[in-house]
Amino acid sequence: MDFDFSDEQEQLRDAVRKWVDKAYSFDERKAIVASGGFSAPVYQALAELGLTGLYVQDAYGGMDMGPVEGMVVMEELGRGMLLEPLSHAWISSAVLQGFAPEELKQAWLPRIAAGEALVVLAHQERGLRYHLENCHTTASENNGVWHVSGHKSLVAAGDHAHAFLVPAQYQGQIAMFLVARSAATDTSHSYHAQDGSRMSELLLNNAPAELLTLQGLAALQLGVDVGIAALCAESVGLMEKTLTITAEYMNTRKQFGVPIAAFQALQHRAADMKMQLELGRSMSYYATLKLNAAADERSLAMSRAKLQMGRSTRHVGQEAVQLHGGIGVTDEYIVSHCFKRLTQMEMTFGDSLHHLGLVSAQMQETAGVFA
């Protein structure tokens, strides 16, 4: 039992933090939002830092790092409110490494690691809320050649992606496919999400596909779990930044002749924000350290962590706006952007009620970090 970071992990944190400070200021981010919510040069910069290949094994040209390194990176990127869907590079590399046949791995992992290919998870559909175990998209096979048809929604930066991980129905089960962009994939309907990042509708018109695995649900669950762990860490970085901004404001803003930090009613709200941040951080560690556990144990742990994360992000975001007063609801000032990003985090990969349902359904007699 040890929660210290190694020197190498601290160096990695430092490098990412420096990059955020230098290249991803609030103004920089605003410009990216204004130009659509995705920056290809930024994604290339992340690749040059080695971050797109963080989970990609040595043999495929990646950094072959583990969940703790992933957590450290995401905490720092959370501070910058990164718009680009780096976590999808981690999701796709984890799913490919966990489930794909060798030739598919060789074809895609080096390109993902190098940042040449953005491969995003496209699992959501209209009418299915956060449920993973169902989908309407279908797959067909003819002489070993696969095609998929359907409509995926809310695909991260879909119109910039080179390929998609697509769960689809095949013979009454969900199988997972890798679908490269082609004439039969349509992402023309793309739009901003709440936080200013980019999303797309993905129309699949009998699109040529490669079978990743017939164990589609297990692969999807792994992908979502990798995404949840990354998101938890990202939220910790952003909650910490949001609390710092709020504390600075409380020490600067004067009313009734004193800084508003002098008022106990507000001090206690700041203390409660700190509580939610630290509960969130504790469960982010938990998620990270359970990411390599057996699938059932891993997924339950992610649901527990995501439930805490959702409660924490909502609390910290709402309170940050309230403690700022009027300036907190303006578009000009950063804190409303923190709030919106935190809000979106709760509603990504299953919101708090969704995960509460999963935790509730799986309760055992004993419970604890080690149970």
Partner: protein, 392 residues
């Protein structure tokens, strides 16, 4: 970073578990697991058993006869005791006053007092709060006047937990009214059999007398009983508070009580009621998050590499969770938590419980737990402290 305990730590846990299993009397664990009334003798019986093994002072260093365990080992010991249903160690002697005597007492005081604490034979109480000094403890007024080689003590302490059984009491007393209130306080050990000491139990909302008023009327205390220097008592009290960090969150007990909550909810038929079950699920995640927070503090203490400013959070969260599980247990029993039959909370009572036997103590425990957000520095005072770490 690693979530797992080391093989050595696992082996240590197994050793403690086996020993507790072999030595904890079943009649005690039965009471603890079912929240039945513990007598003075029950509490002391377990203290004496631990004392023989040398584990009552489980946080003590080897030089004072303790096992010399690190923060993680102490946690594992507490966890194994809690899960097995051992009574909580009454902390005033071994956990609270002993570290102060070790750090600031002289050799004579250490030889005189520590053996009785380590064996569990001498019952200690704490004399801090006064009727006019709760959260503002430094305003305390109990006066100790130096006359020759004695102190003459006059005043009143209150909320003295289990003081009706106390044989010795460690007190914060005022020895000076000059300067800041904090700088005129001394740390004095007082024999409760001294003439002029009187104790009156206070009946609480759960019908029990867990706390007391303690009066001092011209009580003569040998100057040899002063710990450290005169007027430095506040520093020693703060040292004591810093000494007890993760223990107050009581997460191990929370895990045990969560199991009990589930058992009660199943018996009462509300475990499959989604509205109720979801409340348990939320508490389960709360407890896991608290446990992770405790483990972070333990890891930081063990390695000394990180300084964490989250100890105040542990008290707030731990106390809220204690209140929540006791509340949910009572709600699980529903209307059958209403009968409040004093004798039904004793083990072996043969009368009609009205509801299931497990219902009898639920309201009492719920009432009792209201104290947790008040004592040990109220949660509002804790929030003041946490806010300082955020706002500077």
């Amino acid at each position: 970073m690693d979530l797992a305990f080391t093989p050595d730590e696992q082996a240590f846990r197994e050793e403690v578990r086996a020993w507790v299993k072999a030595h904890l009397p079943q009649q005690l664990s039965h009471k603890v697991h079912n929240a039945l009334r513990l007598s003075r003798d029950d509490m002391q019986a377990w203290a004496l058993i631990l004392g023989v093994k040398g584990w009552l002072g489980y946080g003590w260093p080897k030089e004072f006869g303790g096992p010399g365990w690190n923060a993680v080992q102490k946690h594992l010991f507490e966890e194994e005791c809690a899960l097995a249903g051992a009574p909580r160690v009454v902390p005033f002697g071994p956990v609270m006053v002993a570290p102060v005597i070790m750090a600031f007492g002289n050799a004579e005081q250490q030889q005189r007092f520590l053996p009785g604490i380590a064996s569990g034979k001498v019952w200690w109480s704490q004399g801090y709060s006064e009727p006019g000094s709760g959260s503002d403890l430094a305003s305390l007024k109990t006066r100790a006047e130096r006359v020759g080689d004695k102190f003459i003590v006059n005043g009143q302490k209150t909320w003295t937990t289990l003081g009706q059984f106390g044989e010795w009491i460690f007190c914060l007393v005022r020895t000076s009214t000059e300067g800041k209130p904090q700088t005129g306080i001394s740390f004095l050990l007082i024999d409760m059999k001294s003439p002029g000491v009187s104790v009156r139990p206070i009946k609480l909302l759960d019908g029990e007398c867990e706390v007391n008023e303690v009066w001092f009327d011209n009580v003569e205390v040998p100057a040899d009983n002063l710990i450290g220097q005169e007027n430095k008592g506040w520093d020693y009290a703060k040292y004591l508070l810093a000494h007890e960090r993760t223990n107050i969150a009581d997460v191990n007990r929370a895990k045990r009580e969560l199991e009990r909550l589930k058992r009660i909810a199943k018996t009462e038929g509300v475990f499959d009621d989604m509205r109720f079950r979801d409340e348990i699920a939320k508490l389960e995640v709360d407890i896991i998050a608290l446990e992770m927070m405790v483990l972070r503090v333990l890891s930081a203490e063990k390695s000394g590499k990180q300084s964490l400013d989250i100890a105040g959070l542990l008290k707030i969260r731990g106390s809220e969770i204690q209140q929540r599980y006791s509340e949910l247990m009572m709600l699980a029993a529903g209307p059958f938590s209403l009968p409040f039959i004093y004798e039904a909370m004793d083990a072996g009572w043969q009368g009609d419980h009205v509801g299931a036997a497990h219902c009898a103590p639920l309201a009492s425990t719920y009432f009792n737990m209201r104290k947790t957000t008040i004592y040990g520095g109220s949660n509002e005072v804790q929030r003041n402290i946490v806010a300082k770490t955020v706002l500077g």
